[in-house]
């Protein structure tokens, strides 16, 4: 646990000493801000975060791999992974430590968007329930996306490749529900069940479905597990 904390702390410091976190998060805030303004200034606008959440979850598919691409790729490129893996630290402690620092940064970025919610309460009379559930949904969705991104960064020493692979996997996992529309029966249900987009729908409506919560947590767990395994295979080469 102490090792995990040490690694998480080191990565968090590193996020704030390199420009990537600032660039990525300000881009995210600008883009979601534009769509938020669009939403609430449209005719018959409602005081909800529904539209904003849609876009936030979409941009997260690009944001998450950009935040995680450095975490393990750079270690491989610099060769520091060798020192890390020969220190008395378990492989999963390395992975979880890195993951937690990315998750913490993601939470900070999302917390900054709460400013929109404050505006809604200031100027309107929004329904609180769907807002809270939507934020829970976005958090879980991001937690899953970051695990996918971290897995991608364990595969290669090249950060660009890592970000591209992460985004590709995330886009597939998200828009698999579009494919589901083309088929029917069990196949359709299975594809819908695996869609990261589809599981977000209920959260936006104010419904917290435990199966959707379990889905995102499972995605995160599976991809973190894969990351640990890929890290182990690094030892064999």
């Amino acid at each position: 646990m102490k090792n995990t904390a040490a690694i998480a702390w080191k990565e968090t410091k590193s996020y704030f000493t390199t420009p990537i976190a600032y660039i990525v998060s300000s881009m995210f805030l600008v883009l979601t801000g534009i769509f938020f303004v669009n939403d609430i200034t449209a005719p018959f606008a409602e005081a909800s975060v529904r539209g904003f959440i849609n876009w936030a979850s979409f941009f997260t598919l690009f944001l998450a791999p950009l935040l995680t691409m450095r975490l393990l790729s750079e270690e491989q490129k610099l060769g520091t992974l060798e020192l890390l893996l020969t220190a008395p630290v378990r492989d999963w402690e390395v992975v979880v430590g890195k993951y937690l620092s990315a998750l913490a940064l993601y939470v900070v970025i999302m917390a900054l968007t709460l400013y929109y919610v404050v505006l809604l309460y200031w100027f309107g009379d929004p329904d609180g329930g769907p807002i809270y559930s939507a934020y829970l949904g976005v958090f879980l969705h991001g937690a899953a996306a970051l695990a996918v991104g971290l897995m991608a960064s364990s595969l290669t020493g090249n950060q660009i490749v890592s970000a591209a692979v992460g985004t590709a996997v995330l886009l597939t996992l998200s828009f698999i529900d579009e494919v589901a529309d083309l088929v029917s029966g069990v196949t359709q249900n299975v594809l819908l069940g695996f869609s990261m987009n589809n599981h977000l729908l209920d959260f936006r409506r104010g419904i917290i479905d435990t199966s959707s919560v379990a889905f995102y947590l499972s995605i995160a767990a599976v991809f973190l597990f894969l990351t640990v395994r890929f890290l182990e295979t690094r030892r064999w080469r």
Binding site: K2, A6, T80, E82, T86, A87, P88, R235
Partner: protein, 316 residues
């Protein structure tokens, strides 16, 4: 302190290290000498627990590096050949991080950072970013992190490669000072470095140990011999006796079992004397069937020659 038993490592079909066994006693400085690509780095990665061996067993301070990996790793300080450092950290931050993940308590980290900065003479640079340091100073930071937790065992992979001659001398002196408190394995492909630093040398070539000895004994043995592999159909005792009596032959070792139909032997001859023609005519004139006759790979001398040559190239 370090023990390797029949360690083999294959990368796919390629054997990087084949059946290596040796021991290093506490406080000893062992040199690992061999041309580039001989398997030095692979062996070191196996000892540090970075890579598991394909077969065989390695223990460090009595702990198996595969099954008791975490405990074994606590006893090891390691400097890989590439000197991997987090370039966006300062020297102090980096050493602090390495101390933490090695499970050192905070106040001990603080006092030890002071010590190693002193030992490695990094005072002026302790608050500099590592990306700003020259190769030689990075090397020192690498050594500093390796000795930070006062490990029993130090594994240094080519610690003097790629730094300028003055720094080479300083680094060697530093390693010399570390001996005694630590058991050290230092790899190099530079011959004189070994005699300067080590009590014992292992020469490794194409993944196999070709010699283990004290540096001064090695040079005696260097007058050495060349080895020829010979296979024939001949009466065993008579054949070995006759070949042994040839002028330049210094020794004969039978390899095939006593009852085998084909007699296979190693003939050691005085270096430089090509005895192959003489051997062939001897065998044929006795009416034996000559099946194989060839000199086996590199002799110790050739390997040494190779090593000395690469040193000359580097200093030239």
């Amino acid at each position: 302190m370090i023990e390797l038993e029949n360690v083999t490592k294959n990368f796919g079909d390629f054997p990087a290290v084949t059946d290596i066994s040796f021991r290093v006693e506490p406080g000893e400085v062992l040199g690992f000498l061999g041309p580039n690509g001989a398997g030095k780095t692979t062996t070191m990665k196996i000892i540090t627990g970075y890579m598991p061996p394909s077969s065989g067993r390695v223990t460090v301070a009595g702990f198996d590096v595969v099954s008791e990996s975490l405990t074994a790793r606590r006893h090891i300080g390691y400097l890989p050949e590439t000197v991997p450092l987090y370039t966006d950290m300062t020297v102090e931050e980096y050493l602090g991080f390495m101390g933490t993940i090695r499970g050192m308590p905070r106040d001990r980290i603080r006092s030890r950072i002071g010590d190693v900065i002193d030992v490695c003479r990094l005072e002026e640079y302790q608050s500099s970013h590592i990306s700003k340091l020259s190769k030689g100073f990075r090397q020192r930071v690498g050594i500093a992190q390796a000795i930070l937790h006062e490990p029993d065992v130090l594994i240094l992979d080519e610690p003097t490669i790629g730094i300028d001659p003055i720094q080479v001398v300083e680094t060697r002196q530093l390693i010399k000072n570390l001996a005694g408190d630590h058991t050290v394995i230092v790899s190099t492909h530079i011959l004189p470095e070994v005699s300067m630093l080590c009590q014992r040398v292992i020469i490794i070539h194409e993944g196999e140990i070709v010699a283990v000895d004290a540096p001064e004994n090695l040079s005696t043995r260097l007058r050495g011999s060349e080895r020829i592999e010979l296979e024939m159909r001949a009466p065993r005792d008579e054949a070995t006796r006759i070949i042994e009596s040839l002028e330049d032959v210094t020794g004969v070792t039978a390899v095939s079992p006593r009852e085998a139909e084909v007699l296979s032997i190693y003939v050691d001859a005085v270096a430089g004397s090509d005895t192959r023609a003489e051997l062939a005519s001897t065998v044929v004139s006795r009416g034996w069937d000559l099946l194989t006759l060839r000199s086996t790979g590199m002799t110790l001398e050739e390997i040494f020659l190779n090593l000395t040559m690469s040193e000359d190239l580097e200093t030239a």
